[in-house]
Symmetry: C2
Subunit: 263 residues, 2 copies
């Protein structure tokens, strides 16, 4: 008996028809048995949203050749929950991968990212997980330079596992004439989106707003950050955890000595 091939669950946030998930599915077929549960429509910017007030739909689809695949009405986190607890109830996946996202999820964007929420949801379930993103929003983005790195990382995670509570946030620079220089293991860049709201009037005279903004990097030039790696043509790998406790502040606040309240 050969050992069974690894079972790999694939999701994303751009929706099941995107080129990014198609590319990822084809790559994962080289490594194991692939099952897809992905949103039936784009879910970008959904963060770690879940669907609790309304029911979910889940439909089998033959969109991928020789791959068991389902489209789901919910968020990326919903897809992983349904994949783990309903579709793959009898066998836990060996790896969950999410993406390839059309657009960056580096630095603070990890918080807003549906791609990464799928990976983090898998980590919560104790499954090694990786979210992949490309710094190119184009629907027909060129993922070719990222492919060997995605295979290498997925293989390495299948072999080594990941520490409990950790998922990987992997971003690739937009395809350019220069080949990628390699992989950098990084920390999350300290930065934020500086929002600007553009106010417009609709045809009925009522105002509405478009949110736009530019990224501000507070860690400019810091070589251990994911933004530096991307700007210097490396694949950027940030191991990230869902324990959000600020442990130093726990100790600090114990000194505040909040007095007892009579009641």
């Amino acid at each position: 008996m050969y050992p069974p091939k690894p079972l790999i669950l694939v999701s994303n946030d751009d929706g099941i028809t995107s080129l990014g998930i198609r590319t990822l599915v084809e790559l994962m077929q080289e490594l194991g048995d692939v099952v897809v549960v992905a949103p039936d429509s784009p879910q970008s910017g959904m963060g770690h949203a879940i669907t609790i007030g309304e029911p979910l739909r889940l439909h089998a689809t033959e969109i991928f050749k020789d791959v068991r695949a389902y489209e789901c009405s919910g968020t990326p986190a919903d897809c992983v929950k349904l994949g783990k607890h309903y579709v793959l109830k009898d066998r836990t996946p060996d790896l969950v991968v999410s993406g390839i996202n059309h657009g960056s999820n580096s630095s603070i964007s990890i918080l807003y990212s549906g791609t990464m929420s799928a990976a983090i949801e898998a980590a919560i379930e104790g499954i090694p997980a990786i979210g992949f993103s490309l710094c190119d929003f184009a629907p027909n983005a060129d993922f070719s330079h990222a492919k060997p790195y995605i295979l290498q990382l997925a293989k390495a995670v299948l072999e080594n596992g990941l520490p409990k509570g950790v998922a990987l946030n992997v971003n690739f620079p937009k395809k350019s004439d220069e080949p990628l220089k390699g992989t950098r293991i990084c920390r999350q860049t300290n930065g934020k989106w500086e929002e600007e709201f553009e106010k417009r009037k609709d045809p009925h005279g009522r105002s509405y707003f478009w949110m736009a903004g530019k990224f501000v990097n507070y860690d400019e030039g810091m070589e251990d950050t994911d933004e530096w790696a991307l700007a210097n043509n490396y694949a950027a790998v940030v191991p990230c955890q869902y324990d959000m406790t600020a442990y130093q502040t726990v100790e600090l606040m114990k000194q505040w000595q909040l007095e007892e309240i009579e009641s």
Copy 2:
């Protein structure tokens, strides 16, 4: 000249008409000048979602007596962004508070919580922020026991500030006959929601799913966790950060020595 009263921005995820935000607004009026920007409909479970693919609406409302208030079509994170960059463009708030949520946001629920995403969005903007939640989903929940603790914590944060990149996740036990024992500064409990999906048929014969589940506490009995504090009738305060880097895994993965890829 007296120093100006602190400027306090209030938001939530249950929507601007909920009893929880009304209670929080009334409390904050004792401490400073209050401005409200809150969702026009419930946004529970929205995590750190933001609205990027469609426009936002923002309307002034007189729902609170003597308080400048706006209802917004977006998520809690959108509300804070609009509050900071549009409504309060000329003066940064001294404090952002979110809640009081009808329902717990302890342990892993912080990731799914719209209440906490408003607080974390404020932290990203460099503003001290607190999310308040009560372990009671009832629309007419009794917040009376939490009120003096909310005032105490908001005052303490206005006086001491918070470290950069940190917001507070504060949860209160459901009102009982016993008075609260005090405040505990805690870490986020390691736990997860164990999902069960209930499959039903709609009147047209098509299947749909309701997500339900029960909380599993991997830290049962650990006295430094927020779940322990709540179970023992304390207010649970978890300082949390948006830097999700798993620093130990950064060092670990550097040992993986991912070989260079020829391209």
